[in-house]
Every structure is written in structure tokens, then in C-alpha cells.
Amino acid sequence: MAEPYQHKIANALGDPKLQLAIYSATGRLADGRRRTVSTEAFPDYQELRQHAHEIKKHTLNHLDFYLQELERNVEARGGRVIWARDGQEARAFIRNLARERATNLIVKSKSMTTEEIHLNEHLAQDGIEAVETDLGEYILQLAGEKPFHIIAPALHKTREDIAHLFERRLHAAHETTPERLTAIARAALREKFLEAGIGITGANFLVADSGMVVLVENEGNARLSCSAPRIHVAVSGIEKVIPRAQDLGVFLNLLGRSATGQPLSVYTSFLSGPRREGELDGPEEFYLVLLDNGRTKVLADAEKRQSLYCIRCGACLNNCPVYRKIGGYSYPWVYSGPIGKILTPQFMGVHQDPWLPFASSLCGACAEVCPVKIEIPKILLALRAEITEAGIQKGGMVEKLAFRMWAWLMRHPRIYERVAPVAAAAASRLPRAGPLKAWLSQRDLPPLARRSFRQLWRERRK
């Protein structure tokens, strides 16, 4: 019986239009990255990656210290820090704030963290409208869909798809050029910016020594979301903190290149709290919601802790041959691709989707491009070990027994030599089932050699 994820994978593989869309979009992003990190374009790239890795490692090993420093500095600048153990606490704070400030319209810029806690859906239940202002996210909100990709959420939508959507949902004219489509969205969003009582953003980096929130984007909507409304709320995972403002040089140089192949993204905003006396712009109130939601659980494991180094650049998705086949909707959680494959089991528990860490050829392309050098394949292997240990994957009992027998056979070469050909011959005569059937569903199988290497070698020596 096929499981739900198998249906999703089959759907993605069976949709040629989608395949092409994923392939060309991820290919473009991957090519851009490759060009901007090449030795000629950026000689310090490898050193910088190592440096970024070390900074993240140090920070996460002393996370309590840096988070407290961050809190002190945010509050010294007139902002407030809210510690949220989980999505519910984060959502409750935002809902109450909206009620107290008597607003039921919120503008939002792109944030995977708020996707993670399903903020918009919950706010809607409370009668509060949260409008996405990033073009891709806005398209998905109109379509009622989730992000397909960490940095390019509507990557799977063609211009034609978007034109139809705008016609249907915004009663707009049928336009298919990017400029016209953007203009339609912009006009619809402008009113929202002006009316909204609260602007919500995520955070790319939180700087401990200065209490700064750093936002990186290409459209300018994040900048508007945190400055047009009276109140700015930034929602961030606790792992986004870095020690010093000077460390930004390392990360900003890596983020734009790895994500989109830009030496620097179009807009980088350095936000330091609410507007102060004599300042011309900025919100009147600023809140930083620091979300745990399972992160401290990941932190507790010394080997897998590095999963939290992620700066959400999306490079691992663009370079993943599996993601490029199965697309973002085959993964069980908002984080897809290689990083999703290691985050999901750690946040949700390995029991939820035990197949996930096995859906990898362990090719290592992800680790090769990751700007903070997360050893994704190594973590996948560790997760696989946890899953087989718990015996929770499909067919786990049979597989375990098979590997036990195999391991015994591998230590008894004389018996192995006699058993291997017999077993293979028997398997080829069996009705085509199990692994053999799976193999043959896609490709031909070479026959076993009539004589093994060891036999041939022996004969030669005689």
C-alpha cells in the first residue's frame, strides 16, 4: 500500500510541467551561486565558510550567554524581548498585542519561522488578517498554498498560473509579464501597508552586541513592513543570534551568494529598535519574539547540533538531485530539501516520518554547497541509525534480520562464497518482488558473473 508521501512524490515526478519548472529555477539559482563563489569571483570563499562555521559553532555552544546579551541590548534600545517556548506562546503574544492595540490587519514579510508556527491561519481564526507582502508569499497566500522552497516560495508557479490567480482572486486583467504582475500585486498591497497596525518580519541575523535585527531581501517589502506600521514585531528562532556586528561581514557575504548568486542582496536592513527622540523613521514600538519550538532539543545533541547553524540560504535545495525531482511539497514540513530532511525528524521526532532520512542517495552535494558547512549526510546517517535502532521504519523487522544474517555471512568467507551465487539464482527465479522488482521497474540488471573474482584469481594463481 502506497503511503501519502509516496503519492506526493509520484505526483511531482508525473508532472512534466512541474519538473521543468523546478529544474530550471533551481538550476538558475545554483548556477548563480556557482559563479559568485568561484575562486576567480571570490577567492576567500572557502576560508569564509570555515569562519562562518566556527562562529556558529561557538555561538551555539554558548547560546545562553549570547541570548541574554541580545536581550539586554534590545531592551536598552527600547525594544522588548518575548521568550516563546513554542508556537502557541508566540501566537498568543501577537494575538494579544493586536487586540490591545485594536488592530485586525497585519502586514508580513517573508519568514519561514512564522510558517513553522502557522501564524497566519491562527490569526485568521481570531479574526486578524495577516497579509504576506513578499511577492512569492503573496501569490501562495492567494492560492492557499505553502512555500515550495525556502527562499523562492512560489518557484513552482508559472507566470500563466499567477496571471490566472490574480484574475480570479484580485479581479485583475490578464497580464503575464513579470513587471505587470508585480504592479498588480503592489497596488493591492499598498493599501494594506497603509492600514496595517502591526508589521511582522522574520530575522536573518540577531546581533548580540548591539541588539540589532538584520533583514535581507530583494523586494523592499520587509523594509516597508517594519517601518510603515506603528508596531514592528520580529519573530525569530533563537539560533539566529550571532555575537558581534562585525561578524555580519562574514555572513552577508555568504548569504546572498549562496541563495541567489548575488554578492549582496538588494536590501539589507539593520534595525535597532523603535524610533527614538529626534529620529525620523522607525516604528513606535518594537518587539522581538524569540522562539524555541524544539530548538533547544536539537541543541542538546552534540553531533546533530550543527543543524542549527543553518542560515536558510536554500543552496542545499537547489543543488539536491532529490529535491529537484520531488519538489517542495513531497516533504512533510515547511522546511524542504536536505535541510528539511534533517530538521523535520529532530523537531517532530523520528517516529513521525521515518522514511524521510532514507530518501537520499547520500551524494553530499548539499554539504558541498552549504555556506556554514553543515554535515548533512553525516546527520542523515545518524538519524537512520536512530530509526533502525527504534525499529520504526516500514519493513524494519525483516530488514534488521536480513542485515544480521548478512553481517554474519560477511565474516564467514567460505560460506559466503558458496551461498552468494545460490541466493542470487534463487532470487532471480522468484516472482519479481521486493527489491528486485523495484530495481527492474526502472532499469536493467546485469547478470551475476559466472565465476566470482576470488574464483578467477585462484584459477589464475594455479
Binding site: C363, A365, D444
Partner: protein, 237 residues
């Protein structure tokens, strides 16, 4: 004369014995003193990659016992060589003397020729247009990128036509190939599109497992392109 102990991986032993013989022939002509220890079986990677660490460890222990006093262990596979050179460290305690120095004794075949023996021309001849597939573990874990190409460039009559997706995974991935057959097959078909674009007649690699996958899809698609292990190419005369 370097003393070389051949590790003929389980798939080469059972399915592609000619690859093992070819490797032995090339190393022999390059002046190595060769031995094959008949007690050897597998490196343990199938169990390790499937999450069965205990089983992998018992097989790894057995491997270490068989090759205990071997000088160089040369392997016709970047993937199996990496399992031994890198991943054994995850199966044993850091201080375990059995794995000390292992990484400098275990070599993927092409890099052993080029980096240890300093041989690039093995005197081979093969009139073919060839393209080279970078096996993922050979490339990313064993840093095998230049060596096979240098060796191929010295093969008389052979023209190397690089494909655009040389570094892209073929989709094999061990049990991944049968646990997610459609995804694996899809990856392989993307790979062969690139192979066919290169105009090559043969696909060469350091890993028989990748080649089994690639050959399987090439022949299922009815193309005449064939796969050859690097050792077979270098043994052609």
C-alpha cells in the same frame, strides 16, 4: 616495490570480476607487488548506510582483522574506500589503534596510481570517445577529481568528452535505489541525458555501483552507450 593488498569490493567480486582482474593487471604492470587476501568480503557500507551500525561494526572489525598488516589497500571504488578511510572512524572509539593511520593506507585506485605511484601513463590504448562520471563519494569524500582524468588523457586513441553534469549523482545510493526506485530512476535518466549530450560512446567511472545503475538505465533506454570501469579502460591495450 610498493606492496599492495587488493580489496575487491563485494559488487566487483560477484558481478564485475573483470574489473578486479583489470585493476590487478594495471597495478602489476606499474610495478606493484600484489596480493589478494581470500578471507576478505565487504567493507560494511550497506549496513552502515542503512542505519545498522552494530552490524556495520562487526563487518568493519572483520575487515580490519583481514587487512591488519597490509601496507597499501587499494580499492576499485571511491565509495568503499571512503567507508573505510572516513566512516570507520564513526564506528570505533577515537583512540582505537586499529583505525589509526587507516586513511593513509586505504586508496581509491586512480588516486593510488597518480598520487602514490606517480604514474599517469599506464600504456593503455582504447579507440573510443569517453565521458567521465564523478562518483559522489569518490569526488566529495576521496577528492578524486583530477586523477582519473589525467589517466584517461594518457590513453592512446581515447578522446575525453566531458558531460555537463559530470558531478551530478547517478541516483544509485545503495538501498535508496530500491527504496525510492522512481526517484532514483529519475535521477539516473537526468544523468544519461547529459551523457548522451556529450556524444560519448563509453561512460567511465571509478565505481562499479554507479556504473551498474547508469548501464541499467542506458540499456533500458535502448542506447548503445556502454559503461566501463576506469580499471578496464586502463587495462585495454
Amino acid at each position: 616495490m610498493p606492496r599492495v593488498s587488493l580489496f575487491v569490493t563485494c559488487i566487483v567480486d560477484q558481478v564485475f570480476p573483470q574489473v578486479g582482474l583489470a585493476m590487478a593487471g594495471v597495478l602489476d604492470r606499474a610495478g606493484c607487488e600484489i596480493e589478494f587476501r581470500e578471507a576478505q568480503t565487504c567493507c560494511g557500507q550497506p549496513a552502515f548506510n542503512s542505519g545498522y551500525r552494530r552490524e556495520a561494526r562487526t563487518v568493519a572489525e572483520y575487515f580490519l582483522q583481514v587487512f591488519e598488516d597490509a601496507d597499501y589497500i587499494v580499492v576499485p571504488s571511491g565509495s568503499c574506500a571512503s567507508m573505510i578511510a572516513h566512516h570507520y572512524a564513526e564506528l570505533f572509539d577515537a583512540g582505537d589503534t586499529r583505525i589509526a593511520g587507516l586513511a593513509s593506507r586505504v586508496w581509491e585506485f586512480s588516486r593510488f596510481l597518480v598520487d602514490v605511484l606517480h604514474v599517469e601513463d599506464v600504456g593503455a590504448r582504447l579507440e573510443r570517445v569517453a565521458t567521465y562520471h564523478d562518483g559522489c563519494h569518490a569526488l566529495r569524500e576521496m577528492r578524486t577529481k583530477e586523477a582519473p582524468r589525467r589517466l584517461l588523457e594518457h590513453v592512446r586513441g581515447l578522446r575525453l568528452a566531458e558531460m555537463d553534469a559530470a558531478e551530478e549523482c547517478c541516483g544509485f545510493g545503495g538501498t535508496f535505489s530500491v527504496k525510492f526506485p522512481e526517484v532514483s530512476g529519475g535521477m539516473a535518466r537526468t544523468k544519461i541525458d547529459s551523457i548522451l549530450r556529450s556524444g560519448a560512446e563509453i561512460v567511465v567511472s571509478t565505481d562499479s555501483s554507479c556504473l551498474m545503475q547508469i548501464q541499467g538505465v542506458l540499456s533500458r533506454a535502448g542506447t548503445g552507450v556502454r559503461t566501463m570501469h576506469l580499471a578496464e579502460v586502463l587495462d585495454s591495450r
